[in-house]
Each structure stands twice: as C-alpha cells, then as structure tokens.
Symmetry: C2
C-alpha cells in the first residue's frame, strides 16, 4: 500500500455511507467525555506546575499512580498497592512491552480462539508462535489449556477474562484461580487483558486477575480507552514490582521517560475532581440499555436458528449462525442489506469460527442497533431461502 494522499481525518473510525457498521469496536463519539476532560485540563493548567510537560518518570507520575491505586482498590474490592502499578500507552502498547521484556522470538504464546484479532499481529511482530485454545461458554477451556501447556511449554498466555472480545463470556472465579496456579506450576506469564472489567453493567464479575498479581506470574492490563477515551492512549500494568522493574528496563522508556505525561496529567485531574466514577456509571447505564436492545432484537432472529448469550458487560454480542451459514459468505449480503459485522474467522488464529459473527453495541444508539439487526435478519432469511 502506498499512501499518496492524506485524508483530513482525526479518528480511526471509518464508516461507509448507508451501512450500519456493527463491526466497529469503538465507542460513540457523543459518549466521549469532552466536557469532563475540558474541566480536567482547566484544573491541571490552573495549578501552575509545569512538571507534567517535562520528561516523565519511567513508571508514570507518582501522583497519578496513587490516585489510580485508590480507584482500582475501590472498584476491584481488593487492595491494589501503588508500587504494583505503572502507566502504559494502552493495552496494545502494554502487550508490545510485555512481549519485548518477557519473551524471545520463537517462544510460544497461547491465546483464546476466538480472541481480540488485533492482538495477534503484536505477538507475531515479536516472533512468537501463536497457539489457539478453545473458548467455551465460560471463557477459555482450561482443560484444553493445560494439555496445550504440557505440549507447547508456552512463555505467555493471553486472556481476556471478563466480557471477552469477541464472545462476551466471563471466566468464573475458580477457573481464574486455576489459571494462576497453572502459571506457577508451569512457569508461564498470564497477560490478563482486563479492558472490559470495569464496564460490567449487570451483576458483579469475579475478581480481577489483580487478585493473582502477588504470584509474580500474572500481569493485569487495564486501559483508559474503554472507561475514558481511546485518544488518551493510556492505560496501566498491574504486576509484581520485580516485573515492573523488568518492563521499564527498556531502551525506549529509559530514553523518553514514561508514557504521555501530558495525557496522564489530565487523567490525574479527572481523579482529583472525582469525575471518573460518574462518567463510567453513565457508560454502564448506556451500554446496559444498548445490550438489552440488541439482545431483544436478536431474540426475534432465534426462530431463524441463531444462538447467542446476553453479556453482562463489555462491548459485544457473539452470534452463532444457523448450521451451514458461513459468516464470511453472509457478509456481502448483509452489506447489500445495509449492515456490516465482523465475521468469526477474523478472531481466530487459524481462520476457524466461520459459523460465528461479532456485533458491537458500543458505537450505535438503540434504534440503530435494532435497525441493523433487522437488516441482518433480512440477509439471513435471503440466505436460508436460497440455501
């Protein structure tokens, strides 16, 4: 690909005209906290302290880390010590850093199948061998995992334990404990991508993997992308201090300092003004309503043979199509009917999951979600009629 022209575009989101893009995993632009961050910026600049414009400490601003530790301790109902946290450049950057620090090219990483598709190229950039582990109704299948661990002796295991992308499934408490124990027994690191944990809108999820950080084999990765703003490109890594020392022994961090002190300073003010909890609660309320609307609309398609679980948080519903319907083949007809989704094979390290597709309820309002499902239903009916 050669970039000959430049589009005057700020956001990564690309929408085709006349198509409801239920494949997009981004939040609605109108949900983004413009006014909250405007207040935070005004507060931060009003302090008269320019130190957040200087090269930042490697782990991130100590004041921000202290606020974050208090926030996570409350949200997780677990003690999260400040000394176990560092600021990252979001989950993607955290995964990149963990691969660089904790693995060598040629090492094996076990990942859920299906999993967050864009993580796979990060692992491949580091020369890792990616081995899939099946996902069931309760997240990663740990019997399968244990067999694969014995076979492949992985260095890393990547999981999205809560409201998984793309399946929306959540790993129960007992499985989390077992995974942490397996990591100790078989000497691998668990990279727990907990990006949706704080977006639980129904009930209470099992404990975050923060509960297992003290084993020294578990890293809990969080992000401000999903609870504040993707454009901040900031998140955190919660890990044993020895592991944090290892992560910041990195040429780029030693040279440039910590990640985006400027952005971090605005988030510090979000905490100091106590604006974050209310903002997140608003997101949960919005997403609860949307997930219900999407679920209700999809219920109407059950008579066509689709199956799905209603999620209790996160961004996604994972739909299993009627037997014999291929999500890649169906996509053209769906687009012709005015709706797009992410076909299952996109999330599978070896191109499986052809009978599945992912719908996102984070971008569109309830009416648009209902409209999109109706169009999907039409595409499905046309396919079944011809089938």
């Amino acid at each position: 690909m050669t970039l000959k022209t430049v589009t005057l575009k700020t956001a990564q989101t690309t929408l085709a005209e006349g198509v409801t893009e239920l494949g997009i995993g981004h939040p609605s632009p109108w949900l983004l906290p413009l006014r909250e961050l405007e207040s935070a910026a005004a507060h931060r600049f009003a302090q008269g302290d320019a130190s957040f414009l200087q090269y930042g400490t490697e782990l991130g601003d100590g004041f921000l880390l202290t606020e974050l530790a208090q926030f996570l301790s409350r949200e997780y109902a677990l003690p999260v010590p400040t000394g176990e946290l560092m600021i990252s450049g979001g989950i993607s950057q955290a995964l990149d850093l963990c691969c660089a620090a904790l693995s060598q090219p040629g090492d094996t990483i076990l990942v859920e199948d299906p999993t967050y598709f864009l993580s796979l190229n990060i692992f491949r950039d580091h020369g890792l061998k990616v081995v899939p582990v099946p996902v069931g109704d309760h997240g990663m299948n740990l019997d399968a995992l244990e067999a694969l661990v014995r076979q492949h002796r992985p260095r890393l295991v990547y999981t999205i334990p809560t409201h998984q992308n793309p399946t929306g499934t959540t790993m129960p408490q007992a499985q989390r404990t077992r995974l942490a124990e397996l990591a100790q027994q078989h000497d691998f690191f668990v990279l727990a991508d907990e990006v949706y944990h704080l977006l639980t809108f129904t009930g209470t999820p099992p404990h975050s993997f923060a509960a297992h950080v003290n084993t020294g084999k578990v890293l809990s990765l969080g992000s401000f992308s999903k609870i504040l703003a993707p454009g901040s490109r900031l998140g955190w890594i919660h890990a044993a201090p020895e592991l944090l020392s290892c992560l910041i022994a990195n040429g780029m961090i030693a040279s440039g300092g910590g990640f985006s002190p400027l952005g971090g300073a605005l988030i510090r003010s979000m905490f100091e003004l106590d604006l974050l909890p209310g903002y997140i609660q608003g997101l949960r309320d919005t997403f609860r309503g949307r997930a219900a609307a999407l679920g209700d609309a999809l219920d109407e398609l059950r008579s066509l043979g689709i199956r799905f679980q209603r999620p209790s948080g996160g961004y996604f519903i994972w739909v299993t199509l009627p037997d014999g319907v291929d999500s890649v083949v169906l996509l053209d007809r769906a687009v012709a009917n005015g709706v797009r989704y992410q076909p299952g094979p996109k999330f599978s390290p070896d191109g499986g999951q052809r009978g599945q597709l992912r719908l996102c309820f984070a971008y569109y309002a309830e009416d648009d979600l209902r409209g999109g499902v109706q169009q999907l239903g039409q595409a499905l009916q046309e396919t079944l009629r011809e089938g």
Copy 2:
C-alpha cells in the same frame, strides 16, 4: 532493582541537593510552555469536536499533519509534503519503531562515537550489532563511515547531524549529500535524529535531511520534546510514503491507532493559534545567551588546558580535558566541589572518550552555569596540582 516504594514524582529529572547538575539534558521547568498549552487546550476543547478522544488514525491526525507540513516547509525552507509525515511518540519511540520495521536481530547499525547514549539500548533491545564511527569537528567522519560500511554492510546508520549530542558539531552540507548517496549505493537506511535542528540560535544550519527523503533511504526524525514539551511524548517521522506504510504495518499501531491523539490535538491548536514560532524563538534567545555564558566561563579554564567548540545551537558543549585527565575519575572531585557532568565514556559504544565530558546549558540559568564552571575549574585545578 526492586521498586519497593513509590516516589510522588512527576518529572524524570533528579537533582541532588547542593549539586549543579550540568549533566542533565532536560530544559528548565520554567521554560516549559504552560501558558501556551493552557491556551491551546482551551481552544481545542472549545471546538466541541471530540474526535481527538477517539482511536486516532495510524499516521496521526490529518489536520495536525497538514499544519506540521506547512511549519516544516517554512522552517526548513524546503517543501515538506503532508503525505511524507507521520506522528511518532518522540524520537525514542520513532527509533524503536524504525528498528522494528526496518531491521532484523543480528543486523548492524553504525552510530557516531560519541553519540546520544540512551539510543544505544534501544538498538540493543532490537538485537542490533552497534558499530561506532568516529566524530570529528564536522560531525561523523564519512571516510571512516564508508570503510565501515564496506566492512559491515549495515542495515541502518544513526546520526544526529545538527548540534550533535554530545559534541555540538554540525555536519556540513556536502557531507550530508554524500551520506545520502552512500545510503543509496550501499542500501542502508539513514536515521537522521534532527531533534536540535530547529534550536539553531546562531546562523543558519545546512539543510535538514528532509532534503534527502526522496531517495527513499533517509528518514528524518523530529520531536516536539525540544521545541515544545518533552511531556507531550510526540514527534514526527518524515520519510517516503512507502516507508511510512511499512512503519504503520505494526501490530501495536494497527490495534491502538496513532500516537496520543489527545496530546496531538493540543499541538494542533498550538499551530492553529500560531503559538509555536514565538515560543521557539524565545527558546533560541534563551539558549543563545546561556551558551555564550557557559562558553565565556569555560574560556577562563582554557589556561588549564581544556578545549571546546562554541555551538551554534542545541543543548550541549563538549569539553576535552587536559592530557592525562580522565573524566570518570574527575567526576568524584567535581561532585565534591558541587557540580556534576556526563563523563565521555557514557556516550561511547565501547567506553572510549575518557578525556571528554558533556555540559548542558538547557536546564540552568546563566548565573548557575557560571557557578558550575567555577566549581568544575576548582576540581580540575585540584586534580592537576596532585597529578
């Protein structure tokens, strides 16, 4: 190292009490553009457009790139097309990305000796073999480079062509052209770290390596750290569009989007409000005065046998000590006298440069610089008396 306690600290800068830290390569905190960025933030949030809080386009905000292209075209007196620019996370991140995209572990990179010491670990993180090239009064010695190129067949050559760190030397125009030609003949990439180019306070420097980007073998790396704020962790890569496509074919960028859209949005407003040129001119005036003060103070030590060149820009003066004085040994006595500097071996890939040291004039005001040189003179006199 284990991190048991957390220091409530925002900036990376560490000052020991009672010591003038002439080793620090950071700008004075009171020079940082707190008020300018406060105006920029107010302007940006007032637009009512939240798209900079969304996942950002991989190359960076198109509006910011357009402003940057116009700014660089004016500053460089060369046409810089928008389509040849991408936003980076600063020079360190840009070097990391270039190594990841353009080299393989085991490849060779040629670097100046002495060079920016913190770059060396970035290259080593990527498994590169680092080979030093001597630096003379006019930057990298290109005869030596050419011989080393034939011997080592490098994949990359790293240079700081203007107001080099640490020597303050500037590569003349003819050598720049020759280096770009060598890159074409011998098929290596030039990573030109031009971080100090726009901080020229006396005269006009030769053309930026931007002039050679069209060869497809030269990448000109710039940074907002030195002309605005290190805490923004933002810079740019100016390269042929084919190379930019190659750089953004990176798992982390595809997943997370471009670097810090939030920080970039404030810089976009700095441009739109035309605040940057005046701010940079202020820096140039300040650093011109400080470089003169430091040079005048150092002139007083010439009678002790030191030698140095006065720089025409940048942050540093490189001092050659009298014969037989070792900068590593001298450091203890300097600290005892109340001043610290960076000893020469720190900048040398193989620990040479023992007769040299680096002083920085970006952090301290003129009086402090004079005081520090006086203390350095005392330490030197004590050493020579005992010698």
